[in-house]
Subunit: 188 residues, 2 copies
């Protein structure tokens, strides 16, 4: 017998992604979000949701682009800071010590120090209640060689992304390998 | 200096969610997805993406509802199975041993054995390339008391949700607590 917890955002796990964008003056900004995910395989697309009040919201509408910089354990404090401060009155790159790199493919900056980044071109804007969902086509993924597997694919045990739990607002790391998808269920 | 990995779905981490739906004949079905996330706080909404070829796609369009059943470590094989088999020719509840419970709030079933479930009423359908994104307003979250914290909130260390890594297709568990969001970055 289950208990009712009411209408809320208690689905889990959620990602911790730093969204890179440029403002009208060309200043790079970062916003940490947990409302997002992949939303299409072909073409590869990601969806992120932001409130219109955020500085990044206006930046993405104007520049038609954003980057997703995967927050990692090693940069937990910096990632959290970028979800607290606003780019309206703060240079978050200066405050965190992060280096902004201008993407050659989309009109947005990414974080040199974070090992896995995703460059997105805005393709759809969807209003959902108090949030706007920005759907970006992924034009490239870039990674530090240190986090790649022998097959050249980002290894989650090397990336060490953070995991967010809504409502209770905790960060966790990645735990043990459990098995291969499309494989461990075959015996059923 | 980062390496280019091309345009693909390498963002991480991704969730492992079993989507519960009824078909036209009233048979309950489950589909495992990784393309999804919360997309709005007020009202609380979640977005999930499915290909039109899937059985669940038609079910959701017809019933205007779905449930999100959080896959947990203890049910990894069952969760993986529900991403391999199709509801067109398989009774996945029978094959997994899961019990289908009819939601009293939305026209969809949920899994009794999974400890955390989210009931959604379809509010928007967004076509994104080869996928359809279904946006559901969360009308209730239900949980087993065993996974609740002292404050009555699902504790991720008790839920033990699975984490999916796209492309390399691995499942991992949840790792150590890293800190409190909107807190650990304050010192910067």
């Amino acid at each position: 017998m289950k208990q009712s917890l009411g209408a809320n955002t208690l689905a889990q796990p959620a990602p911790v992604w730093l969204i890179g964008s440029y403002d009208a003056a060309g200043r790079p900004n970062l916003a940490t979000i947990a409302w997002g995910g992949i939303c299409c395989s072909k073409p590869p697309c990601a969806a992120i949701a932001l409130r219109p009040a955020t500085y990044t919201h206006g930046n993405i509408l104007q520049r038609k682009a954003f980057t997703i910089n995967i927050a990692t354990e090693a940069f937990g404090r910096q990632a959290d800071y970028c979800g607290i401060a606003s780019g309206r009155d703060t240079d978050k790159f200066a405050a965190t010590g992060f280096t902004a790199v201008k993407s050659e493919l989309v009109n947005a900056p990414y974080v040199e120090e974070l090992p896995l980044i995703v460059e997105c071109r805005l393709v759809q804007t969807v209003e959902v209640g108090g949030h706007t969902q920005f759907i970006g086509e992924i034009v490239d993924v870039k990674a530090d060689s240190a986090i790649l597997s022998d097959q050249g694919i980002p290894d989650i045990e090397k990336v060490r992304p953070m995991i967010f739990t809504p409502v209770i607002r905790t960060y966790h790391g990645v735990g043990p390998y459990l098995g291969q998808a499309f494989q461990i269920g075959k015996e059923l």
